[in-house]
Symmetry: C2
Subunit: 211 residues, 2 copies
């Protein structure tokens, strides 16, 4: 803690169309900030070579996933093809109570669900690419990508971008260092918000009484 | 501008009990930030030697002050003894429209009035001293200050401190560099708030259309 006050942790959501630089920003934040951790999702999809259970995902079977869902133990969940993904509530709530912040790399649908289940703890940031050209460059992963594949990715990005009005902050990622600095400033600012501070009334009464 | 987007300026209010370090923080912010300017108040009190009209205050007579008041040309005003002080609305609105931010060094009563007249543009920060001892040290300006004078200043500070729940952000000033960095982060974060950005819908439509 860098303050005499305790505070409740916050949930930082980064969303963006694929290709806007979100993953790079998230990695740099996690590397630089000791009080920020990535939220680990539960998933029913099979573990891939090199993935570590509890680090990349919590790998669970469909029965366990449904049990969590029915017990309202998931803050948000989604189905992608035949696989399920979700954010377990317990570890997030425990971290927030300890004053630790959690980072979420989720899309607008997941963010909407988090907003319903944890509005006061949520800080949402939308990352936009500086231009369509820049986005197209980043979405063309290989030189031999057929134009229709790139066009499909662009269409998906255009759809995702339409959700910017649902976010607290919007950053146009025209410079990665500046964008990281902006998200870091958002974290610092949100950590000093009056309504996240715990025991402030008591602290001020102490000051007034001569503490 | 450090972004492809335009934005509306904001009104940054710093309040604190006298002796908590607010003036030092304000001076450092103004020196470091090219897009932040101090709001200049109008006052009916006589100009003191060394003061410059339009820099320290706009010096006006009581008739002019009352005219501004009656025409709703003041964002907030206060009477201190027999003198009047107020914030002219015009220069502030012009600066905000140009995307420039204004700094206000006003107490909780002025902040309440600003909140009523310009809620969406307001970002309010309350600075607290780290301890009563520290506050007492800072309020004892001269070694020969009689104890009852210091006690009176402490009582006034205690009264002012009771207004912390009305502010967006609260900073305990236990380290001046850290406190300046926090207010700077608040400025950076608030400048990327979605609802201050101008023309964002148009920008995103351009991206979607291939701009």
């Amino acid at each position: 803690m860098d303050s005499v006050l305790r505070r409740r942790g916050l949930m930082l959501v980064l969303s963006s169309p694929s290709g806007a630089g979100k993953t790079t920003i998230a990695r740099r934040l996690l590397a630089e900030d000791d009080n920020l951790e990535m939220s680990v999702s539960a998933t029913t999809r099979p573990k891939r070579p090199g993935e570590v259970s509890g680090v990349d995902y919590h790998f669970v079977d469909k029965t366990s996933f449904n049990l969590m869902l029915n017990r309202s133990e998931l803050l948000e969940h989604a189905r992608v093809f035949s696989n399920f993904y979700g954010t377990p509530r317990g570890p997030v709530q425990a971290a927030l109570s300890r004053g630790e912040d959690m980072l979420f790399d989720i899309d607008w649908q997941g963010t909407q669900q988090l907003r319903e289940s944890a509005r006061d703890d949520l800080v949402s940031v939308f990352i936009l690419p500086p231009s369509t050209h820049e986005l197209e460059v980043r979405l063309t992963r290989r030189a031999q990508d057929p134009p229709e594949v790139v066009a499909e990715r662009m269409a998906k990005a255009a759809d995702e971008m339409s959700h910017w009005p649902e976010y607290d902050y919007v950053i146009v990622n025209d410079d990665i260092d500046r964008s990281v600095a902006k998200v870091r400033a958002i974290l610092t600012a949100e950590r000093t918000r009056r309504d996240r501070l715990v025991g402030l009334g008591e602290f001020v009464r102490g000051l007034q009484a001569g503490g």
